[in-house]
């Protein structure tokens, strides 16, 4: 608890002593942290392999870009719309394939990610701008204060992370979160205990996609230009690995994972060529020595009333 407090305080003050470059690195870490949290619901909690998360991210980003550049709607106002479009997209495309298990689902989601990326390159409906993407997206502004510099974005993004952590924490400690864990552990037993397995599988995809869509919105307004190459297969892999590295189904784990996967390569710019080698080596070491990730989830806490009234009706 104290550790988390110190880390949060340190993080909140970091823009005061970091230069633009490092604040921007932290901003990227923040974006990946939320992407990680959104995918964590699907991969960590429900145990469904999804290697196409960038597709949902892209849908959100393009929704923000299109509506902002064509209709001049302020980007932050588009947050709910981005969440809805990405969520709806997930609901439609995942519905027919949600019953697939393990590797099969994984392969289909890889396909989904690629289809979306290629569709964007081919300028579907003539609104995505093809390979060039969309440029000239507005910066966000809150109460008339335009957010431009990395230091300003820092508070927007990390505020967003804080909200995400707060809500995801509540979500995982609820009937909904437990249901996802049950179906990860044993689908037949979950269904046999009265849990609508198909519904929850789809629901976690919709929620995860909606959050990824909102990150897409912030990403679009931060970059002011988006193109299909920002949503490649590599992005999905990055989000997936940061969960496995940090600790799946663990919020602190995911944030630490984002810090390591996105932040560390910047620290070691000097040995940039060996980056993938170190990265691969670290993953192998993880698989052997610490399979649940660096910060595995703690068991949920329940406060049990200690009345041993004995033989009462269940």
């Amino acid at each position: 608890m104290i550790t988390y407090g110190v880390v949060t305080a340190l993080l909140a003050m970091s823009p005061l002593f970091l230069n633009k470059y490092w604040v921007d690195v932290l901003n990227n870490v923040g974006l990946y942290a939320i992407l990680g949290l959104s995918l964590n619901i699907i991969v960590g909690h429900a145990g469904l392999f999804n290697l196409g998360h960038a597709a949902f991210y892209a849908v959100g980003a393009y929704t923000a870009a299109i509506f902002n550049t064509r209709f001049n709607i302020p980007v932050l106002w588009l947050l709910p719309l981005c969440a809805c479009s990405a969520g709806l997209f997930a609901a439609i495309v995942m519905r027919p394939i949600i019953h697939l298990r393990g590797d099969y689902l994984c392969i289909v989601t890889i396909g989904l990610g690629e289809i979306v990326r290629i569709a964007l390159i081919n300028d579907v409906f003539g609104i995505t701008g093809g390979a060039n993407g969309i440029f000239g997206i507005d910066r966000p502004s809150i109460f008339g204060i335009a957010i431009r510099r990395p230091h300003e974005f820092f508070y927007l993004i990390w505020g967003f992370v804080a909200v995400a952590v707060f809500l995801f924490y509540r979500l995982e400690n609820s009937r909904f979160g437990r249901a996802l864990n049950y179906l990860r552990e044993d689908e037949v037993a979950a269904e046999g205990s009265g849990i609508n397995v198909a519904h929850y599988k789809l629901a976690c995809f919709v929620i995860g996609a909606a959050w990824a869509g909102m990150v897409g919105n912030v990403f679009a307004s931060k970059m002011t230009i988006i193109s299909p190459e920002s949503f490649s297969f590599w992005e999905s892999v990055l989000i997936f690995t940061l969960i496995l590295l940090g600790g799946s189904a663990s919020i602190p784990g995911v944030i630490l994972g984002a810090l390591l996967i996105v932040g560390l390569p910047e620290v070691f710019r000097g040995i940039a060529n060996a980056r993938m080698l170190i990265f691969g080596g670290a993953m192998i070491a993880m698989m052997i020595f610490r399979t649940e990730g660096i910060l595995p989830p703690r068991p949920r806490k329940y406060t049990l009333s200690d009345d041993s009234s004995g033989e009462s009706r269940a």
Partner: protein, 254 residues
């Protein structure tokens, strides 16, 4: 009045006739046993009742409602709970969380209420927790509430399955070989527990291999062999039925 009535139930797996025109009536408040040699189709009947597989033919009526074609979670919500022959717990979750799984179908809060943590959601969580603890006390696992399910002994894992089934507030509880892997003492305790459950007004349908358990606890017994019903009645009657003896022990070939 029968709570569950099965008519003309048939299920084929390829060329194998697993269940052949079986008819059953389970009376409200009774303890009924379904027995038969290995491969007689007992578990298949259970899977058909709970919607895990669909019958090729026949009707399953629970409290006036047709169950055929309903998904399992809907059937659970209607008031049928089951345990599994091969223990199917959520091994890496705590004992308490395993029981909370059973509370799921009697709760309403979804993801939105969870994120907002509305008073309704908090009240519901509290009530579910109390109910889960109560069920654990009932089967005698209260002290192990915070253990992981996989750390329980085999017999206790079976009890945990029963607790998980009980919190779904069933009117019919289906036990698939509950005494499997239990020793003599545990079996005796199980019989007491089954009677206690019935005394709460829950009807029980029991599949069992262990004839002694069935003979001691069941008021009415149905015997299956090769998917077909060959005998039915009280323990005494079934025990002396030549067809049953033949199915279990075979006949002398002259």
């Amino acid at each position: 009045m029968s709570l569950l009535s099965i008519k003309n139930l048939t299920k084929r797996f390829g060329g194998v006739l697993a269940v052949n025109e079986v008819a059953l009536e389970v009376g409200t408040g009774s303890i009924m046993g379904l027995i038969g040699p290995n491969g007689a189709g007992k578990t298949t009947v259970f899977n058909l009742i709970t919607g895990i597989s669909r019958p090729d033919q026949g009707e399953i009526i629970f409290d006036g409602k047709l169950l055929v074609g309903l998904p399992t979670h809907r059937i659970i919500a209607l008031g049928i709970a089951r345990t599994f022959q091969t223990i199917r717990l959520f091994q890496n979750l705590s004992v308490l969380e395993n029981v909370l799984a059973g509370c799921h179908s009697r709760m309403k809060s979804g993801s939105l209420r969870a994120m907002l943590r509305t008073p309704f959601q908090r009240g519901e969580e509290k009530a579910a927790l109390a109910r889960a603890v109560q069920a654990l006390e009932f089967v005698g696992l209260r002290r192990d509430a915070e253990q992981l399910a996989k750390n329980l002994s085999h017999g206790n894992q079976r009890l945990l399955e029963i607790a998980r089934a009980l919190v779904t507030k069933p009117r019919l509880l289906i036990l698939d070989e509950p005494a499997g892997g239990m020793n003599e003492q545990e079996t005796t305790d199980l019989i007491t527990l089954i009677r206690k459950i019935r005394d709460q007004g829950i009807t029980i349908l029991l599949i069992e291999h262990d004839m002694s358990l069935v003979m001691r606890v069941c008021e009415h017994i149905v015997v299956l062999d090769y998917g077909a019903k060959i005998s039915e009645g009280t323990a005494e009657k079934v025990k002396s039925d030549p067809l049953v003896i033949e199915a279990y022990l075979g006949t002398d070939e002259e």
